[in-house]
């Protein structure tokens, strides 16, 4: 293990002529929780999706635990990784989506078991035990045989977290995990995430939950217009923002 779990160097990304990321640099150390704040359209979700290569970057480099994501550098040239190799890199990176994206045709337990069984071809009984333990940990031991449509949004998002954890990732990416939830369901998901952070999971969290960022985050970056406007320890950035843009944003959401 290197001492940098995520390293982004001058990352650029455009969709057609629209440049969404204009040079992002970021280092997340193992065990750290890095929160990404910013107005919608600032490119924070896109950046997160670049980390596990759901989006191809146009320039720059992203390393996860020392591995260059999506490419291999040989003789000064970048070669695209094969689909299989990209999949192998993604196994170590868990992702939680804003819209949960549980598989509706599978039960809760099957959702959690699918990837370890199909991708890692692990022993089914072991996976079942581990999946049940994970679901117990996120407080859903009694919903194991239910279908996602029978769960509340908060419960679905907790299943999604358990599903990602079942692959034993070294890094977890959260893309606005509470934005699609009713206010009273936000807490249960944040509690699970806090619990994860306490256990030393490295996390990159795109969120609008300022409270969570201040309480749990080890570092915070504030993005706007495809660049990092300000970064530092959450208490400092939130409590005493230096940049005008950060001040304006925080005054609206706080």
């Amino acid at each position: 293990m290197t001492d940098e779990m995520v390293r982004a160097e001058n990352v650029h990304k455009s969709f057609g002529s629209l440049e969404v990321l204009k040079g992002i640099d970021l280092v997340v150390r193992p065990g750290e929780v890095c929160c990404v704040l910013g107005p919608s359209g600032s490119g924070k979700s896109t950046f997160l999706r670049c980390i596990n290569h759901l989006e191809k970057i146009n320039a720059g480099r992203i390393f996860v635990d020392g591995d260059l994501i999506g490419y291999r550098e040989r003789g000064g040239k970048l070669h695209e990784l094969k689909e299989k190799e990209v999949a192998a890199q993604r196994r170590a990176i868990g992702m939680v989506f804003q819209r949960f994206n549980l598989f509706p045709h599978m039960t809760v337990l099957q959702n959690v078991m699918e990837a370890p069984c199909r991708v890692k071809r692990e022993n089914k009984n072991e996976v079942r035990d581990r999946a049940a333990a994970l679901l117990d940990r996120v407080g859903l031991a009694d919903k194991i045989d239910g279908y996602p449509s029978q769960l509340s949004g908060g419960q679905q998002q907790r299943v999604a977290i358990a599903r990602a954890l079942a692959m034993r990732p070294k890094l977890m990416l959260f893309d606005e995990p509470t934005s699609a939830l009713d206010p009273e369901l936000v807490g249960e998901v944040l509690d699970v995430m806090k619990d994860l952070a306490r256990d030393g999971m490295t996390m990159v969290v795109v969120t609008h939950e300022i409270g969570f960022a201040r309480e749990v985050g080890d570092s915070l970056i504030f993005m706007d217009g495809g660049v990092v406007v300000e970064q530092g320890p959450p208490r400092e950035v939130i409590g005493n923002p230096q940049q005008e843009r950060t001040q304006a944003f925080l005054s609206k959401v706080l």
């Binding site: 299989k84 999949a87 196994r91 994206n101 598989f103 509706p104 599978m106 279908y147 769960l151 692959m167």
Partner: protein, 337 residues
């Protein structure tokens, strides 16, 4: 449930309103009843229907037209043609749909041309065309493509690099030509149905699956297709039922191993026309009824986890309540969404 709230107010009596009357419906029922009675009267009293000929005996000690040996044999042929043509149609249709959605422009345009051609040609024309393909080639075989041309290039005359070949007229006359004509035509329609199904699945599903490390094939097989099936199954049921009836077209290939051909043979032998047509209608009705039952169960299987069956039940009981029937009771699968 308590009858008193915290404020101490008594719960008012449940509403027992007089339902809205629908006199128009009663008129419609009366009209339909008379029409049905007229129809039954016509069917049962007119001797020219000749029910005995259809069900019991065609005379000379033979069984009824529906159940004679050749007709049952033809029925078997129709079922076999339907199954084989649908197998080709669904299998090839899935392949063509996936090709059509591919980012590779060559694959997707080949798929486009395939659906374009086979949807444009009438099945009857295809059936006759396939029956006559033997005119184009004498023999059909597996082997090195362009073997004779390659041989000429190296100065060898009549190089034969065929591992296996067969006379085209043996292969393509009759049953196989019929199966191919129907199956290839069906694949074009199925490709569009499957494509619609795949596109109906939320993109977040394949994103979540690939973020977990599933390969593209696994995402398609395990996540996307099972969900697409919900959209694919009902129109596929339609296609299957249409296929049962379209098998009668292969009589023009010509194929004799088929229900309608066999029944028509009876009518041209005995000069009994209408009862034979009725017998054909009855057989098609029976096959399609069985298929509808099958479709019901397949649909129920693929909508697990969606609670749509429960919702449909609720809608139905809601309709019943509207008409003064029982009050709606939510089905077990109705909770959730």
């Amino acid at each position: 449930m308590t009858t008193e709230t915290e404020t101490g107010r008594a719960r008012p009596e449940a509403i027992k309103a007089v339902p809205v009357r629908h006199p128009g419906r009663w008129v419609a029922i009366a009209v339909l009843t008379v029409l049905v009675a007229m129809f039954l009267h016509l069917v049962l009293t007119n001797d020219r229907f000749n029910w005995r000929f259809i069900f019991v005996s065609m005379g000379e000690g033979k069984r009824g037209a529906m159940f004679t040996g050749p007709v049952l044999e033809g029925l078997r042929g129709t079922l076999l043609l339907t199954v084989l043509a649908m197998l080709i149609g669904v299998g090839l249709g899935i392949v063509v749909a996936i090709m059509r959605l591919s980012t590779n422009p060559i694959l997707s345009s080949v798929a486009f041309v395939y659906t374009w051609v086979f949807r444009a040609l009438p099945r009857l024309v295809l059936a006759i065309l396939f029956g006559n393909l033997g005119i184009l080639w004498e023999r059909i075989g597996f082997g090195l493509p362009f073997d004779q041309q390659i041989g000429n290039l190296f100065g060898i005359h009549d190089l034969n690099a065929q591992f296996y070949s067969i006379k085209a007229t043996d292969l393509l006359s009759g049953f196989l030509a019929g199966v191919l004509a129907l199956g290839l035509s069906e694949a074009a329609y199925m490709a569009e149905i499957v494509r619609a199904g795949i596109q109906s699945v939320d993109e977040g599903q394949s994103e979540a699956a690939s973020a977990l490390g599933l390969s593209r094939g696994q995402v398609l097989r395990r996540i996307v297709l099972p969900q697409a099936m919900r959209v694919i199954v009902p129109p596929t049921g339609n296609e299957t039922i249409a296929m049962v009836k379209d098998t009668s077209l292969v009589a023009f290939v010509p194929v004799t191993f088929e229900l309608f051909f066999q029944l028509q043979a009876i009518s041209s032998r005995t000069f009994v026309v209408l009862p034979v047509l009725i017998a054909a209608c009855l057989w098609y009705l029976i096959i399609c009824s069985v298929l509808m039952v099958v479709q019901f169960f397949v649909e129920r299987y693929f909508s697990r986890g969606y609670g749509t069956a429960g919702k449909a039940r609720m809608r139905l009981s809601g309709l019943a309540a509207e008409q003064g029937g029982a009050a709606p009771t939510p089905g077990p699968g109705g909770a959730g969404i």
